[in-house]
């Protein structure tokens, strides 16, 4: 258990910080602290340019193996990179689904041809991805997939159905989809994992308006949409394995560095408390202290989760189970604290950079405890896998 860094790590930290200082500048300066969850609609064109700026510096896909175009950074170095990126105010990554989800899935499950076709364009920031998991009737019951797919005589695949909660589908080039390829199959059996171009006649994208007014999520309708014959990942009918591997990844490294963004938000809250006078209220003070403590804990949660376990290998065990539940509820509470600290000004729609991000935080963090496994699903998983308590009885299907 050490918190101090080697001189080499410290030098790496300085290198990232310096690169960010030099490049998150000029026309990119407007992106500082923008584009995070709740703000993903902020200037997507400029943020795509920023992805290419990052790529030019070699700062995309830093955790991927070098053989796949990445930097092959160790976990510790990835932590440092993400922390310094966020500390500098680096914008929400347009490329995060490619880099954090489908890329690693292709590295593990993809064919050599798929890797060759897709990975370089994720690394260089020229192709952006969306995900197609959730369905309106499924919700937390991920395996309850109704979207169908079938293979045409020419070997291509067709997809029919509907996905939902697809972030930035309208700004993306490709989508990965899990669909039922074996008619009559149930649950996690008989599913296939397909890659589709979004710009095609069989796909329609409709934005979902969120409570805060933004529309970064979408519904995506598939009406005989086409996937090329070799754009199936894994064997037909075994798509669940790919999908689950990918969710593991989502709950792991890709949320790294978010604490630095959270620290930035907490700092905005503290500044607002000083300004509004609510910082003199002892109850508000106690909540700010608690939020600060929660943030320390969250960082240590992440460090524990990412440390090699006693037996070697990543300790994505008990610690990982609590990680998402902890941060999402902390973040939701911070949103409420932010509004209470702003006082009555919180209710007025504002462009003030000291107010707007806190309002967005308040509204968007309502989704934090719902997407990627609701609180209720998280608690089930923690009780069943973390504590070995009995599984929920499921009625016969």
């Amino acid at each position: 258990m050490r918190l101090d860094e080697t001189p080499e790590d410290q030098a790496f930290r300085a290198e990232v910080a310096q690169w960010m200082q030099e490049h998150l500048n000029g026309r990119f300066a407007a992106l500082k602290h923008r584009g995070g969850p709740g703000d993903e609609e902020a200037d997507p064109a400029l943020r795509k340019d920023w992805e290419r700026e990052l790529a030019a510096g070699g700062w995309t896909c830093v955790g991927w193996p070098q053989s796949c175009g990445g930097r092959g950074l160790s976990i510790e170095r990835q932590v440092i990179f993400h922390e310094e990126y966020a500390r500098a105010g680096g914008p929400g990554r347009m490329g995060h689904i490619g880099e954090g989800l489908i890329g690693p899935a292709l590295i593990e499950f993809g064919s050599p041809a798929q890797k060759q076709r897709f990975l370089p364009r994720i690394v260089d920031g020229t192709e952006f991805w969306a995900q197609g998991y959730s369905e309106p009737g499924a919700g937390s019951d991920l395996a309850n997939v109704q979207t169908r797919c079938w293979q045409e005589p020419d070997g291509s695949w067709r997809v029919q159905g509907q996905k939902i909660w697809t972030s930035l589908a309208h700004e993306s080039d490709w989508i990965f989809v899990i669909a039922r390829s074996e008619p009559g199959s149930k649950g996690s059996k008989g599913l296939s994992f397909l890659l589709l171009k979004l710009d095609q006649p069989g796909i329609e994208i409709r934005p979902i308006r969120q409570l805060g007014g933004g529309s970064e999520f979408n519904e995506v309708f598939f009406d005989g949409a086409v996937a090329e014959a070799d754009h199936i990942v894994g064997a037909p009918g075994e798509g669940w394995k790919v999908a689950m591997g990918l969710l593991q990844i989502e709950r792991g490294v890709s949320t790294l560095g978010q604490q630095m963004h959270f620290a930035y938000e907490l700092d905005l809250v503290i500044q607002a408390a000083r300004r509004s006078g609510r910082g003199d209220d002892p109850a508000i003070r106690a909540r700010i202290a608690e939020a600060w403590g929660g943030l320390q804990v969250m960082r240590y949660n992440a460090l524990r989760m990412l440390s090699p376990s006693e037996g070697g290998g990543l300790q994505l065990g008990r610690e990982a189970l609590i990680y998402k539940y902890y941060w999402s509820n902390w973040h939701r509470d911070l949103g409420k604290l932010a509004m209470d600290v702003l006082g009555p000004d919180a209710d007025v729609i504002s462009d003030d950079p000291a107010i707007r991000p806190l309002q967005q935080l308040f509204f968007f963090s309502r989704a934090d405890t719902i997407y990627a496994g609701t609180n209720e699903i998280q608690l089930n998983i923690i009780a069943e896998r973390g504590l070995g308590m009995p599984r929920e009885p499921r009625p016969a299907a």
Binding site: S134, D281, A346, D347, R366, A367, E376
Partner: protein, 386 residues
């Protein structure tokens, strides 16, 4: 001592319930929120002129029904449940209440009958502290002139400021310890109304600047109206009642959040079962019900105290303490239930299309109105411990 609703009270509640279920649907609320006034004038006319809601708490001698807090609380609860968009809260729960408690007989006779008849919309600044209007008064100064008064200052949050006919203004006067109360015509020279764009669009607020607004003695519309004999006790009592009526509205919000959640989780299936059949979901809905029913007890109880209690300084102070507590409880209950409604609706809970967000935004806005729970509890603690 009898806590059951009277027959008349049941009638009033049921009429409000069915009228609002009809006119204040989700679509209607969203449409009204987008209107410059923030409400549908026809709905307002029906409830004020036809249904006579504005006359409920006005004394019979002044053209009202002579009822009081228990009846208004029942209306407000339904208004909250259906997110009624109308200047009812501003005109009846704030202004008429204030005029009745603080104003001279002449002013009461001039203003209350018109309010009771639905002919006059009156509003007043909504404070955000545990004080009894003195926080609002602190930002406006009244100077005596040869023929009356001149008002200068700013009122931060005025509900229905864009559409009201008259504005009540609390102001400080040099050498007077109690704030003075004025009524001014909203189209008087020197008044500038700036509508605020708020996240909660179901109650429109404005910032109103007063620059040399004149309130001339004997003028028709603008004048000083506080009754020196009654204002000290009256502002305590009227602020208490304002908190109570707001709490009743918040009670309605909370109830609707629970009802929406129970209905949604009964329909929505996950893992082959209605979501509402999962014990954790049941327990959380039950927890909401406990808080809501307790809040209802508190709101009804405080309204009964308001109707039964002495209205002297001692009675007003006790009522103030109880209403401070109930507004604190209401704000927290409404927010809690709105939060749970969003959470238990799952993905659709945080969409614009479903209704929980409307209640959620209102609950957050109302958190500050007339004092946050922290401020109100500190006030209660001062009374208990000092």
């Amino acid at each position: 001592m009898n806590f059951a609703l009277t027959e008349d009270q049941v009638l009033i509640r049921d009429a409000a319930e069915s009228f609002l279920a009809d006119v204040s649907t989700s679509e209607a609320v969203r449409a009204a929120a987008g209107h410059p006034y923030g409400y549908d004038v026809e709905v307002w006319q029906r409830l004020s002129a036809e249904l006579g809601w504005c006359s409920i708490a006005v004394p019979e001698a002044l053209g009202g029904m002579g009822l009081g807090a228990p009846e208004l609380v029942l209306i407000q609860e339904q208004a909250g449940r259906h997110l009624l968009c109308a200047p009812f809260f501003s005109t009846v729960c704030l202004a008429a209440n204030l005029i009745d408690a603080c104003a001279t007989a002449a002013a009461r006779e001039r203003l209350l009958p018109a309010i009771a008849g639905g002919e006059l919309r009156v509003t007043v600044g909504l404070g955000s502290s545990a004080e009894d209007w003195t926080d609002v008064a602190a930002a406006v100064r009244a100077h005596r002139t040869a023929d009356g008064w001149v008002l200068d200052g700013c009122i931060e949050r005025v509900p229905d400021g864009v559409s009201a006919d008259r504005l009540l203004v609390w102001a400080q006067v040099d050498g007077e310890s109690e704030p003075a109360l004025f009524v001014v015509n909203l189209d008087a020279p020197g008044i500038e109304v700036a509508a605020l764009q708020t996240w909660d669009a179901t109650r429109h607020l404005s910032r109103i600047a007063l620059r040399g607004v004149s309130a001339v003695v004997g003028a028709d519309a603008s004048m000083r109206i506080d009754d020196p004999q009654r204002v000290a006790t009256g502002r305590v009592r009227s602020a208490a009642l304002a908190r109570l009526y707001l709490a009743a509205e918040l009670l309605g919000h909370a109830q609707q959040c629970l009802d929406l959640t129970v209905a949604y989780t009964a329909e929505r299936k996950q893992f082959g079962r209605p979501v509402g059949g999962f014990q954790a979901v049941k327990h959380r809905c039950a927890e909401m019900m406990v808080r809501i029913e307790s809040l209802r007890s508190g709101v009804y109880g405080a309204s009964a105290r308001a109707a039964s209690g002495a209205d002297g300084a001692q009675g007003s102070a006790e009522l103030a303490r109880e209403c401070a507590m109930i507004k604190a409880l209401a704000a927290q209950t409404a927010f809690y239930c709105a939060q749970e409604a969003i959470q238990l609706h799952g993905g659709v809970g945080f969409t614009w299309e479903y209704d929980p967000q409307l209640y959620f935004k209102r609950a957050q806005a109302a958190h500050h109105w007339l004092g946050t729970p922290e401020m109100l509890r500190a006030r209660v603690a001062d009374a208990l411990l000092n």
